[in-house]
């Protein structure tokens, strides 16, 4: 393929706007994106003791702990949903978010050569490991369906909202990951701060309790956490009890999109001169 000798294929100029992304270039190099995502998967599964099985076993193990200690021992409310189903459905999206956040916030630090030594479309770096999480998500969903059927709950037309919930979770994970990855790369102790933040986030999400436990007046504020909409939505879709969580999902959707925009803008701004400071 010959390039037109009159017109340059690429122009590199000083003073171009910081926010400009060359989307054509991103499309052109998409093979690299898939390689990066695949690499993340391969490395994670090679390093884990049980390999791919770990993706299913980890949430199952957590669920077991919750069922025994929170459900049976403490009698925490679950709105009548069988304990395993309740906790596992909370964990499906939560694990995607927490693990996705962990891998994407580490991504810049662990791949500094991709920034400083080669030309790699920079958004690929935090985004690829998040997309790799979809494999785990798929396996968790299968497990969830199996669990619900075991308890005599059958899938219904309600599961149609699940792709929307996946998008909410994806947008939130990407948004926060983009926001945090430059911070993790720059500040040694940020990872400690992040660990605390994620723990707090866990308790602010209805993973181990139903959102009906939250007083009605606080509902909207509570729903600003997009994981609320995602998790409540999933429980509604799978179990079918109670009304459709309109507020949670509505507010959560707006919140997730805002998080993504904020994360995106902040990442682009701080990543512009990354390659220089070496």
């Amino acid at each position: 393929m010959c390039s037109d000798p009159e017109k340059p294929l690429v122009v590199i100029e000083a003073n171009r706007s910081n926010l400009l992304i060359d989307w054509d270039e991103y499309l052109e190099k998409r093979d690299l994106f898939w390689f990066l995502a695949l690499r993340d998967l391969k490395v994670r599964f090679k390093q884990a003791a049980l390999g791919a099985a770990w993706a299913i076993l980890k949430p199952l193990a957590m669920m077991a702990v919750f069922v025994v200690f929170l459900g049976h021992a403490m009698g925490f409310p679950t709105d009548g949903v069988p304990y395993p189903v309740f906790y596992y459905s909370g964990l499906v999206f939560w694990n995607f978010f927490a693990t996705g956040l962990a891998v994407s916030s580490d991504s810049l630090l662990g791949n500094s050569f991709l920034v400083t030594k080669v030309y790699c479309p920079i958004l690929y770096i935090p985004a690829a490991p998040v997309v790799a999480q979809f494999l785990d998500l798929g396996m968790s969903f299968s497990m969830l369906i199996a669990l619900t059927m075991y308890y005599g709950i059958w899938p219904s037309i309600r599961i149609i909202i699940i792709p929307g919930l996946v998008l909410i979770t994806l947008a939130s994970t990407l948004g926060v990951g983009l926001l945090f990855s430059p911070l993790v790369a720059k500040y040694r102790d940020f990872q400690n701060l992040m660990a605390v933040l994620v723990q707090m986030w866990f308790f602010m999400s209805p993973v181990i309790y139903p959102s009906t436990a939250v007083p009605a007046g606080w509902k909207v504020l509570y729903s600003l956490n997009p994981m609320v909409g995602a998790i409540e939505g999933l429980r509604w879709a799978v179990v079918g009890q109670g009304p459709f969580p309109t507020v949670a999902i509505g507010v959560g959707l707006v919140s997730a999109i805002s998080l993504l925009c904020v994360g995106f803008l902040s990442f682009i701004r701080s990543s512009n001169n990354l390659a220089d400071f070496v």
């Binding site: 340059p8 490395v43 080669v118 030309y119 990354l274 070496v278």
Partner: protein, 259 residues
Amino acid sequence: MSVLAIKIRGLGKRYRRGESIFERTSLKEAVLRGLKRLPSLSSKQSRLTGDLSFWALRNLSLDVEKGSILGLIGANGSGKSTLLRILARVTRPTRGRVEIFGQVGSLLEVGTGFHPELTGRENIYLNGAIIGMKKKEIDAKFDSIVAFSGVDEFLDTPVKRYSSGMQVRLAFSVAAYLEPEILLLDEVLAVGDTAFQKKSLVRMQSVVRDGRTVVLVSHNMDSIRSLCSSTVLLDRGEIVYSGSTTEAVERYLGLQGDR
């Protein structure tokens, strides 16, 4: 009127010494530093910025003809790697403009992009993608790449088990079979043992015979002399000489002698 592969006008690059985003610091330090700076903002800070930055490239203009092998030589710190990095779009210029007429592939450091847990085979694909090859291209050239590197038996072993020589040969082999219209190489010919170096030189020569443009940075005057049709000598960010390779090399050695 010759066809140009690269057109550079008035290129300048300023680096700020000091805090690197990868030069890690702690949140506590950063906050404290920020607080300390508050009272003496204006005067002190502008002085600080002046001390902390330097120009790696100054007002550089250059035409690179299509089908030529251009050598880029100069002392350490003269700006050659910076120029290459701007052309490879790894970093942005502070001033000026570059026009590139063709697909660019670059190898700025050997072995970058290798992941120790993955096998040689997996790393070939990863590296190929990183330096700009499409999967189909890598598939087509896979056998040649493996043959050139000489690591056939260890293809399915994790790269962390390779010797450093093997790693370097593998990385270079991937780049050697990359066939972009414009190839940027930064000091990567001096890898491996003599036999491998010889193979690399021959391979580079055949790559260029196909009409591709190569920009090569090297400290090895023998490679420059045997490969480059013309050479540019840089000193402290500026072009000191551009033209015949023999002349450029002589001036370079002269400058080196003076130091």
